[in-house]
Amino acid sequence: MLPPMDYRMMATVLIVDDSPVDRRLVGGLLAKAPNIEIAYAGDGEEALELMGKVCPTLVLTDMIMPNMDGFELTAEVNKRFPLVPVILMTGKGNEEIAVRALQTGAASYVPKSALASLLVDTVENVLSVAQEEQVQGRLMDCMTGCQFVIENDATMIPALIKYMRTFIRKTRLCDETNGIRTCVALEEALNNAFYHGNLELDSKAREGDRATYRALVDQRSRMNPYRQRKIFIDVAVTASEGRFRIRDEGPGFDPTCLPDPTDPANLEKPSGRGLLLMRTFMDDVLFNQNGNEVTLVKRIDTTMSPGA
């Protein structure tokens, strides 16, 4: 592996192209830019093999190549090296391909016909963003967890989920899809803590008149002791797992008493779906004895790479 990169140190650009002539041409253009070292690979598979040994700061790839094309390489780099941006070199003037490149996850693209005028600027722009993110990523590597004590206010929940999504991405706990799954589970746990824990609202109440239920939410949100209660979130990331502990100050509940929401007889009822999603998307869901604290466990995805 390369040593941890200093923000001001050299950046390594991996040029991937099956044509030796094009590789030399692109390498020659980039050689004019300061603080850039260049590495080469002949196709996507070779690039990934190389990245497993020495991780570049940026990948610059041709689109049409044998074995693995530029789109496939972009998707694979995004999955395995999420902090390494990819720039695609596209055929001349094909906007459709450029759009597809960005949708695939490329950070940018350069038409091959305009390499001389656009390549260096594009690479430097993407590098400046990537280096900042990589420094942030290294900082997040030093983070082993976080804690929040939030007011009993439902509008805080989406903000916290947004933060946690970034936290999961930056700590590379899991890939993007599993990060979304984890956030689904966290959101359910936080909503449970707010509505059913601190406000002590039975989910059966949601089966009745919606206006009555909303009035009750509103009333309890303003009334003591419900109003004064808080939600405690404790996140710990180790080498093997992420552990999200969420505790409310309500009297707790017995999770075994919830109906099976997938039973056809219960499909229309709102009870139990949140816990079902938590159990589906997390590796472990553990309640304390009182039932007012849930710990959601996500094991580290070992296919994730440190990235840079």
Partner: protein, 120 residues
């Protein structure tokens, strides 16, 4: 009722198309419930027989959205209409399957396919 934050509503012949809006601040349960009431009113006012929920803009959702979909589905069912869901993300589909809603709701790739489904 303030302006809608979570759903955009359009009418297509006999169907009300309810499209989730990408909301960077996430879904707040109370606010979703408020909009849900408005959706039901629009179903009645527009005399729409069918309803389509388009989730294209969301990369995921949770039990709040599921509950809203159940409410709309029940309202449509009551008046003999059809209900369909479209534009579901990978994780969204997992959520629908986990809750077994894929067994009772048609889940289509596109809004056009959903319109064709409810009008068939």
């Amino acid at each position: 009722m303030s302006s809608p934050k979570f759903f955009r509503v359009e009418r297509n012949d006999h169907a009300l198309i309810i499209s989730a809006i990408a909301n960077t601040h996430g879904l707040v349960e109370d606010e979703v419930r408020d909009e849900c009431d408005s959706l039901l009113e629009q179903l009645e006012e527009n005399e729409s027989k069918h309803a389509i929920i388009d989730l294209e803009a969301l990369d995921y959702f949770g039990s709040i959205m599921l509950e809203l979909m159940v409410v709309v589905w029940k309202a449509v069912n009551k008046s003999g209409g059809k209900f369909a869901v479209c534009g579901v993300s990978k994780v969204g589909l997992e959520i629908l399957k986990t809750a077994k809603f894929d067994t009772i709701w048609p889940i289509l790739d596109t809004q056009e396919a959903a319109i064709e489904n409810v009008n068939s």
